[in-house]
């Protein structure tokens, strides 16, 4: 029972009008997205944007207040066990039992997961030089993150969900973790969702993008399509938004010029105008423009069409 996307590929994640309310406040609302299998998704947003809320609903640790989410066709409300088996999860701050040894931690993974791959887990620990007999609390932060990642990987689930995996690590450990992650998932067909508030960490890894602020999706889609559908324009400051060849996502004005990220229709490139300069945006520029974008209405809802629609 696997759902397909419009192009016949399997869907790893499907969310429809997904929302979660905490008391009066919506942690996430109106989240609709379809992620194909094999995508490496960067979920980017500031702290408090609703990233963890979304991830916990995907895993099934949190029940949606409204809407529905399914992982490889298994919905949130039915078959919690079937869904748990499909997701490997690395929680923020990589929680582990501190008085367990590394071997105990792997034993726990084996005991609690029928599909556990002990060979993979041990090979990873060997490759990383992590002593199996050492207690978790005696490991460095980077090693703890690696053990936690190994727990998620050795479960052999087709979807891997990582919540701020490197935010608590020092710069060297961050780099090593991301390099290892990239090498590990390359060519495996794993679908990965990796949440972060640091854009630069995700650029080389991700081929899919979801930007979340204030519990709302700002943009979502394959990174390549999104980059092709935007231009970074440098224009005279006096130019009104109405003359732009598409929706102005974010505009900064200096003394004489304005820099605007504009969403365009890639099939119909706009004619160049004298005094305008149009460049393809970088990954980071695109993400930052959406992160900085003001909500369009007083109620906080972004009523402008999202890029999900642009890319269809």
């Amino acid at each position: 029972m696997v759902q397909d996307d419009a192009h016949g590929g399997a869907l790893a994640l499907r969310a429809e009008r997904l929302g979660r309310r905490y008391g009066q406040v919506w942690g996430l609302r109106d989240f609709t997205v379809e992620v194909p299998a094999g995508a490496i998704v960067g979920l980017i947003g500031p702290n408090g944007a609703g990233k963890t809320t979304l991830l916990e609903m995907i895993i099934g640790l949190l029940e949606p207040t409204e809407g529905e989410v399914s992982v490889f066709g298994t919905t949130s409300r039915a078959h919690p066990a079937a869904r748990l088996a499909r997701v490997g999860y690395l929680a923020q701050d990589h929680p582990l039992y501190r008085d367990f040894s590394v071997a105990d931690t792997l034993h726990l993974g084996r005991a609690m997961n029928p599909s556990w791959d002990q060979g993979l887990a041990q090979a990873r620990m060997d490759a990383l030089g992590t002593p199996l007999k050492r207690k978790v609390k005696a490991l460095s932060g980077g090693q703890q993150a690696q053990v936690a990642l190994t727990m998620a990987l050795a479960k052999r689930a087709p979807l891997l969900v990582l919540d701020e995996p490197v935010s608590s690590l020092d710069p060297v450990a961050r780099l090593e973790f991301m390099q290892d992650l990239m090498a590990t998932v390359a060519g495996t067909g794993l679908t990965v969702i990796i949440a972060s508030h640091v854009v630069s960490e995700l650029e080389r890894l991700c081929d899919w993008l979801i930007v979340l602020t204030g519990g709302q999706v700002r943009v979502a889609g394959p990174a390549g399509d999104l980059l092709a559908a935007h231009r970074l324009l440098t224009i005279p400051r006096a130019t009104p938004d109405a003359e732009l060849p598409g929706l102005a996502v974010h505009r900064t004005d200096d003394d004489r010029h304005s820099t605007v990220l504009v969403r365009i229709d890639p099939a119909r490139p706009a004619a160049q105008r004298p005094g305008w300069q149009a460049d393809p945006p970088g990954f980071e520029q695109l993400v930052l423009a959406y992160l900085q974008r003001r909500p369009q209405t007083a109620a906080g809802y972004d009523t402008a069409p999202t890029a999900t629609e642009v890319t269809r």
Binding site: E56, I59, L61, L62, E63, P80, A81, L84, A85, V87, Y89, A91, Q92, D93, P95, L96, Y97, R98, D99, F100, D104, H107, L108, G109, A111, M112, N113, P114, S115, A148, M151, K155
Partner: protein, 304 residues
């Protein structure tokens, strides 16, 4: 999952064995000298012939030597010990996962969190039953000579023999688990679980226990030893034999009738020990089941 539960609770298991060993050492040391004195004083023969009436001096010498050690130091600790043990093991069972964030690890594995909790609860409950039974066995062996003088229905004796000690531990454990799930902090949960446990424990001991089965009323013609009408002659807990004349009876009230010709006793006969134990232990086991059932249901329904 069995291995996981054992790995997480083995430190507690070892600590419990340590407590049990300390209790056993104390019981063997004091219990052995108590047995020696009991035979040496000739009490077995005297009790067999006269229910202790013809050897009051020897009885008093024996209870004077061992009664205070047995009744005060030992049992005041044992009043709160089952509750402390239960909440110390119960409260962190879920609360520590929530405190340290490890619930995100534990509940995102393939085994569902409901199964995770029920297996843990089953194993820890089983361990506590074994521990409670072992403690009961040690205390019962240790108390045996004293029980031959007083029976084991009296408060402070009844509470540590038979079934109720184990049921007290289980109840505090159940309260601890539920409080830990609701409060999400181990230490506050221990306190929140211990207070109602102690309240229920004391209310049942002091108000309900004597009426769990309707007491027997005994009316005697008193001859010259009559109690004045309306005056309570005291229950004479320490009297050997008690006012009914049979060792082990738990005398609840002693009074005289209006004419001053008869004495009226109410009491629980010694042979009701097991029925009373079953009923009281049943109450605590039912409370345990309700608390643990609520915890499983809550975790199943509202995970985070």
């Amino acid at each position: 999952m069995i291995w996981v539960s054992w790995r997480q609770h083995r430190t507690q298991a070892v600590a419990c064995l340590g407590v049990l060993a300390a209790l056993a050492v104390y019981a063997i040391l004091v219990g052995t000298s108590m047995r020696t004195a009991f035979s040496h004083d000739g009490l077995p023969a005297c009790l067999a012939r006269s229910q202790g009436t013809i050897c009051q001096d020897a009885v008093q010498a024996f209870t004077g030597e061992f009664g205070s050690a047995v009744n005060i130091a030992f049992y005041s600790v044992l009043l709160i010990a089952p509750g402390l043990l239960g909440v110390i093991i119960g409260a962190p069972l879920v609360a520590s996962e929530l405190e340290y964030g490890t619930w995100r690890l534990a509940w995102s594995q393939t085994i569902s969190r409901t199964r995770w909790l029920t297996v843990k609860l089953a194993l820890v409950t089983g361990g506590l039953i074994v521990l409670g039974a072992a403690m009961t066995a040690v205390i019962t062996w240790y108390r045996a000579p004293m029980d031959r003088l007083t029976g084991h229905l009296l408060p402070n004796i009844y509470d540590y023999e038979g079934l109720v000690l184990t049921a007290y531990i289980l109840c505090a454990f159940g309260f601890g688990v539920l409080a830990g799930l609701l409060i999400r902090r181990s230490i506050p949960a221990m306190i929140a679980a211990f207070i109602p446990w102690l309240a229920i424990r004391l209310v049942i001991e002091n108000l309900l226990r004597s009426h769990l089965v309707a007491p027997v009323t005994l009316v005697q013609n008193c001859g010259g030893l009559c109690i004045e009408s309306g005056q309570n002659g005291g229950t004479g807990i320490s009297a050997i034999p008690p006012a009914t004349g049979r060792i082990g009876d738990w005398v609840l009230s002693i009074g005289g009738n209006a004419q001053g010709t008869q004495n009226v006793f109410t009491y629980q006969p010694a042979d009701r020990f097991w029925s009373l134990q079953f009923i009281e232990a049943g109450i605590f086991v039912a409370l345990t089941a309700a608390a643990l059932g609520a915890a499983v249901w809550l975790l199943h329904r509202r995970p985070a």
